[in-house]
């Protein structure tokens, strides 16, 4: 490996960053940096020739289309946008004016708490409401004397509340004395959940969401990968991307690279039980290894290089703390680097398992609060880099404690600014074995590990959001290496070129270039109906979630294809053509500004009419599918009703040999009740045969509150239970609640991804619970049973006890699973009673979303349905 004979001059100082200054819009322009003598050998003849560090000539790549074009049809099912600013922030005119001078956001805490009370009145005030309902009067007329002593007229209170609403923002609220009096009186006992605790939890969650909204580093690295075909000259490739409503399906989609790339055939699909945050890929020995990271699970797939060969899942690991990084070794097959937010770095080998390289919850060079960690490979297969927000260190996996050196420090060494932090490090091995890329929110650096701490290249990238994604396209000798940088929230895409590293020093080549963002196509689309426009705006404006690119060489021209993934699961592509090989095309578009609706994409003749046609056609088709998809859920959003015909087939109701005596009796009951329109609570269960009753679940140790209450209600001695409960000490209630909250937090997102792998390993390195990882075969017999463990309110089995797997019918009857299916509360009991009677012939479950076609592609062992996508249909509200 050659090292440049001379490097560009630079100062070297140690210590904290000295330069002040925030993000500056023009910081990247106009500088040459330094100069160096270009070719020292030829100095004898004439004057020395100098080359600049920045601003040398680069290659010219021109966009072929006016906007990015969708590659794949929009994913079926409605996309649930993540919370936006206006969902969280407090927006009040009065407040805004008052705070105009001050910066800082106010979280709308009251609104979120209000959401909770409105959406979950049962959970919030259920038992008290029922106990007290005699004491509340809802009518308008005046109360009579004997009742007046123990009854409150609610209409008056409601009026006061309305008045308060009208005066929102007014500081003189003491006028509503009745409300104050009421709230003062019942603040302590009206709520099922202690209000202080609830508020604490909610506030914590709001802060979490808010910080995610400002900068979500869980997406670092991006969830899109391009696997080029193994055969040289092939025009095929494979896109690996997440999809589905919860972004928990992994797709391997074959793509044909023609004028515009398009998918071919049905993608191989894997359902995982967590949102996919990152997809990383590397090619070793002609095979691609694809690493997939979700919060608590990391998995690795092997994809043979031949086109059309099926991807094979290899292994999965589970972590207790969310993983923040997963990178695949470009040197050795089946080796990956994993980091968790607890500050642990592992070398993960499919053959030998996990090896912990470092565990340090503190950051390396100075104190920073962020738990984000990253690791990547270097030129030496046994040396890994570890990064946190303060810098990068390289350590030898054979002696990680002893052998390490600092590669990059946020400080004077690299000429950093104050407040600068590492955002994404990336090994540039395909361009040069010892080069490294580091991006911060201000600048992008190229490092050479043979000369640590001194960046061989630095350039302020001027992007509005920190670049979370990067992609390298190495150039042949004599050509430039291309680096793409991508930001998430702003969808920015920037193309940089650089050269050098071995014979000559590194130089930035040409001016950086902005590529189309996904939202950019909005102005080129024909005018839409307002609600369609709004939907489109929301969909196209979704934050970017990944970036991939490939260079395609043809006889006459060279094209660059850039793929961009959005959080909605859409994959867009744009084509750039290389100037040198391109036939002269009209580039007069350069100066034209485009008005909405009148765009070169749709009207102006472009360089190739075929390309224009396909792009427009692609858009039309995409829009059609998108709008068709968005119409469906509006029908679906009606409260789901169960018709008798759906529940029971005619045959079930009549029976081939005529109903038995019991059945006839039940039918009679049923008819009678339906005729009366009465409550099913009047059903007398005792009249039925004992076996028809679902068994009372045995109270096993510490059941949670909800279960005990339900149990009590089920057996009829609910009032007694309430008596017991009121004597429950408040402290105990709080403890129980805290426990529940903690469990929920832990349970969130940690569902068994392992179920979708043929071989699954569990490492106990970070106290992985062994209890809830049943072998995948367990579910094979009942593929449609919704297991209880996924639903948020379910209690996890006690550690040590055998996994409590309820019988299918019981699971079907549990109130959680019924709620999951959208069955309204008042009908759940009806249904439960029906089902318990007809236990011998369980009815077909309501149809589950997910088309037949996609299921065919899932290998049989992977067809287990997780409940993740079921429970998340509702738009998430803060904290609940």
């Amino acid at each position: 490996m050659e090292f440049p004979a001379a490097l560009f001059p630079s100062y070297f100082g140690a210590g904290p960053p000295r330069e002040e200054g925030g993000p500056a819009l023009a910081a990247g322009w106009g500088e040459r940096g330094q100069v160096l003598e270009g070719s020292p050998g030829r100095r004898q003849q004439a004057q020395p020739a100098f080359v600049p560090r920045r601003g040398g000539t680069g290659e010219t790549w021109d966009p072929a289309e006016a906007a990015a074009v969708p590659v794949l049809p929009p994913s079926a099912g409605r996309w649930i946008p993540s919370p936006a600013l206006q969902d969280i922030l407090y927006r009040n005119n009065v407040c805004r004016k008052l705070r105009a001078g001050r910066s800082g956001a106010t979280l709308d805490f009251a609104k979120q708490l209000g959401h909770f009370f409105v959406d979950h009145p049962e959970d919030a005030f259920g038992s008290m409401g029922r106990l007290l309902h005699k004491n509340f009067y809802l009518g308008n007329s005046k109360l009579k004397r004997p009742a007046r002593s123990s009854t409150i007229r609610m209409t008056a209170l409601m009026k006061d509340i309305d008045r308060l609403e009208a005066r929102r923002g007014c500081h003189r609220q003491h006028l509503a004395s009745r409300l104050r009096w009421f709230s003062h009186l019942c603040r302590d006992w009206l709520f099922e959940v202690p209000l202080g605790l609830l508020a604490d939890c909610l506030h914590e969650e709001l802060l979490l969401q808010w910080s995610d909204l400002l900068f979500d580093d869980s997406l670092t690295g991006g969830a899109l990968a391009w696997l080029p075909s193994g055969d040289a000259g092939s025009r095929m490739g494979r896109l690996v991307h997440p999809g589905g409503q919860a972004m928990n399906h992994l797709f391997f989609q074959d793509v044909v690279l023609e004028e515009l790339p398009h998918g071919r055939g049905c993608p191989a699909q894997f359902e995982l039980s967590g949102r996919i945050r990152q997809v990383a890929a590397a090619r070793v020995d002609g095979e691609d290894f694809v690493g997939v990271r979700s919060d608590y699970h990391c998995g690795v797939w092997r994809v043979p290089g031949r086109t059309g060969s099926a991807p094979a899942p290899l292994q999965v690991i589970r972590t207790d703390v969310p993983a923040s990084c997963l990178t695949v070794s470009p040197h050795l097959p089946g080796e990956l680097a994993v980091c968790t937010e607890s500050g642990t770095v592992y070398l993960w080998s499919v053959e030998t398992g996990l090896q912990q390289l470092r565990h340090d919850p503190q950051t390396m060079f100075f104190r920073d609060h962020s738990p984000w960690r990253w690791s990547d490979f270097t030129a030496h297969p046994r040396v890994l880099s570890c990064a946190d927000r303060t810098g990068l260190q390289c350590l030898d996996a054979r002696a990680p404690k002893k052998c390490h050196f600092d590669l990059f420090k946020v400080g004077e060494e690299a000429g950093c600014q104050q407040g600068e932090r590492v955002v994404l490090p990336m090994y540039l091995g395909r361009a040069h074995p010892s080069q490294y890329l580091v991006t911060t929110q201000f600048s992008v650096y190229v490092l050479d590990e043979r000369l640590p701490l001194v960046p061989v290249l630095k350039w302020p990238h001027m992007m509005k959001a920190p670049p979370l994604f990067a992609h390298l396209m190495p150039g042949d000798p004599g050509r430039t290496h291309k680096v793409l940088l991508g930001a998430s929230r702003t969808q920015e895409l920037l193309l940089l070129q650089y050269r050098g590293g071995s014979q000559s020093a590194c130089q930035l080549a040409g001016a950086p270039q902005k590529l189309h963002s996904i939202t950019g196509c909005l102005q080129h689309l024909p005018t839409q109906l307002p609600h369609h426009h709004h939907l489109l705006q929301q969909r196209l404006g979704a934050p970017a979630a990944g970036l991939a690119a490939t260079l395609q060489k043809d006889r006459t021209c060279e094209t660059m294809l850039v793929f961009q993934l959005s959080e909605a699961g859409d994959v867009f592509c744009q084509r750039l053509t290389h100037e040198a090989a391109r036939p002269p095309a009209p580039t007069s578009r350069d100066e034209a500004t485009t008005a909405p609706g009148s765009s070169p994409l749709f009207e102006e003749p472009a360089s190739s009419p075929l390309g224009l046609g396909t792009a427009v056609l692609r858009y039309h088709r995409w829009l059609k599918v998108l709008f068709r998809g968005c119409r469906k859920p509006s029908q679906r959003s009606l409260p789901p009703s169960l018709s008798q015909r759906r529940l029971f087939t005619r045959k079930d109701l009549e029976g081939p040999t005529g109903p038995t005596a019991l059945q006839r009796q039940v039918q009679q009951w049923l008819r009678q009740v339906m005729r009366e329109g009465g409550h099913i609570q009047h059903w007398e269960p005792l009249a039925l045969q004992p076996p028809a009753l679902p068994q009372l679940p045995e109270p096993e140790g510490a059941l949670d509150l909800l279960s005990t209450r339900l149990t009590a209600a089920w057996s009829g001695d609910w009032e007694q239970w309430w008596e017991d409960r009121t004597s429950f000490s408040v402290a105990q209630r709080q403890r129980a609640l805290r426990e529940r909250r903690r469990r929920q937090k832990r349970a969130r997102g940690r569902r068994s991804l392992s179920a979708s792998f043929t071989s699954s390993l569990t490492y106990q390195s970070e106290l992985s619970e062994l209890s809830d990882a049943g072998p995948p075969q367990l579910y094979r017999g009942h593929p449609h049973v919704l297991s209880q463990e996924g639903s948020p309110a379910a209690s996890s089995p006690l550690p040590g006890s055998p996994p409590a797997s309820p019988a299918p019918d019981e699971a079907l009857l549990s109130s959680q699973s019924l709620r999951c299916r959208g069955i309204p509360k008042e009908r759940r009991k009806t249904l439960r009673d029906y089902l318990s009677v007809w236990a011998e012939a369980p009815p077909e479950p309501p149809e589950l979303p997910g088309s037949q076609a996609s299921q065919l592609c899932i290998p049989s062992s992977q067809s287990q349905l997780s409940s993740a996508s079921q429970t998340r249909r509702k738009r998430p509200r803060m904290g609940f």
Partner: protein, 412 residues
């Protein structure tokens, strides 16, 4: 009100800037230039206290546009730069330096020199730390240009010297260039930094005038001062100097040993290995084996025939002599769990055989000895070699088969 006015002005300024930015990032230089003419207005009411004020923006953006705009000329560029220099006192030196860089890249060495001299004489109140650094750089670059004119005159003199005709004035001018260059170059290389270019020139000057001690001291300081970054070139320059001076093997080896310690993957490691292999001392030959093994650990050396033949030669030597097999064993111990997959996979055997037969020969020899005759790499290559009836592959197979017990000793 004035506050509102300021706010609006700021807003429109920002909008204008974002238009410019957008145009530049899409390489629409003409459009950007048009917007820039509007932005110049912001200079009139420069209320900002931001680190990069409008005048710096205009300098940066204007320079960039002039570099890429199809209708710009060098004259316009110089004119623009002169205006920019007067716009801000704080940035004067920086703008000068960038202007000089631009001139140098366009081959206008004399104009650059004039600009440097002018900038050097600039004085304005107390200098900040950054300005101090910039001034040092300006002086250094002037020293560099002095060095170039020195070397030009030296060449003239050497040519004419051969004719037996020496021009006194040329010689005098050359010496004055030397003095000017030496003073400035000496100054900058004292400060911690990467000064490859300046160090090389300074050492060249010193060597020409026979001041080898000073040259040696400068190079040692550049390589070993702990305040300087660990620059491999510093060690390379020292090694090359020592070689030119005809220093002993021992001092050359010790210079390369340090380079090996900081950059085991440096290209000079081949030279180092051959030097060590020739040595009569056991310790040195042992180090040679270590060096070549360490170099081949790196991905960049994977397909380096020279390195593999070095390793193959030394391993073969050891196997034939049957002495020091433990050296191989020790080196192999820390690599046996990953070298087979990294270097000796079946996939690589196929590819190496197709692309580079001599590489696959050397690697097969090493694989055969380290992993035995049943190793995939060796089996594939020797099979293909025998099939193609190449003599040396048949010899290779024989050699490995004969020495198979060695493998057992190494792996055992």
């Amino acid at each position: 009100s004035s506050h509102e006015h300021r706010l609006n002005f700021k807003k429109s300024k920002e909008a204008c800037l974002s238009y410019i930015q957008d145009a530049m990032l899409q390489k629409q230089w003409k459009r950007a230039a048009e917007f820039l003419t509007c932005y110049v207005e912001s200079l009139e009411k420069d209320y900002s206290r931001e680190p990069i004020g409008p005048s710096e923006m205009i300098w940066r953006i204007g320079t960039e546009i002039l570099c890429h705009h199809s209708h710009s000329s060098m004259k316009e560029f110089n004119c623009f730069m002169e205006q920019m220099k007067t716009l801000g006192v704080k940035r004067y030196l920086k703008v000068c330096l960038e202007h000089v860089f631009h001139l140098l890249c366009n081959g206008q060495i004399d104009e650059a020199y004039q600009n440097l001299s002018l900038a050097e004489s600039w004085r304005y109140g107390e200098q900040t730390a950054i300005q101090d650094k910039e001034m040092k750089l300006i002086q250094a670059y002037r020293g560099l240009l002095d060095y170039y004119s020195w070397s030009k005159q030296k060449n003239i003199l050497l040519e004419h010297g051969l004719d037996g005709f020496a021009d006194l004035s040329v010689e005098q001018e050359m010496h004055s260039c030397f003095r000017k260059a030496a003073v400035n170059l000496k100054e900058i290389i004292k400060i911690p930094g990467v000064w490859d270019l300046f160090v090389k020139c300074y050492v060249d000057l010193l060597e020409f005038y026979g001041d080898h001690n000073e040259a040696c001291q400068v190079l040692n300081e550049y390589a070993y001062n702990s305040k300087f970054p660990a620059n491999p070139n510093a060690h390379v320059y020292l090694y090359q100097f020592l070689k030119r001076q005809g220093e002993s093997k021992k001092s050359l080896i010790s210079a390369l040993k340090i380079l090996h310690d900081i950059v085991p993957s440096h290209e000079l490691m081949i030279d180092f290995n051959t030097m060590l292999q020739k040595s009569k001392k056991r310790k040195k030959r042992r180090l040679g084996l270590e060096v070549i093994f360490a170099a081949l650990d790196y991905a960049g050396w994977k397909e380096n025939v020279k390195a593999w033949s070095c390793l193959a030669r030394q391993v073969k030597q050891i196997v034939i002599s049957k002495k020091h097999l433990d050296w191989i064993k020790q080196e192999w111990n820390s690599r046996k769990d990953w070298w087979p997959a990294f270097h000796f996979s079946r996939y690589l055997a196929k590819r190496n055989w197709q692309e580079n037969k001599s590489l696959s020969y050397e690697k097969a020899l090493v694989a055969g000895i380290l992993l035995g005759k049943d190793c995939k790499y060796f089996k594939y290559v020797s099979h293909q070699g025998c099939k193609a009836q190449v003599k040396r592959f048949r010899m290779l197979k024989k050699f490995v088969n004969r020495h198979n017990p060695v493998y057992l000793r190494i792996s055992g």
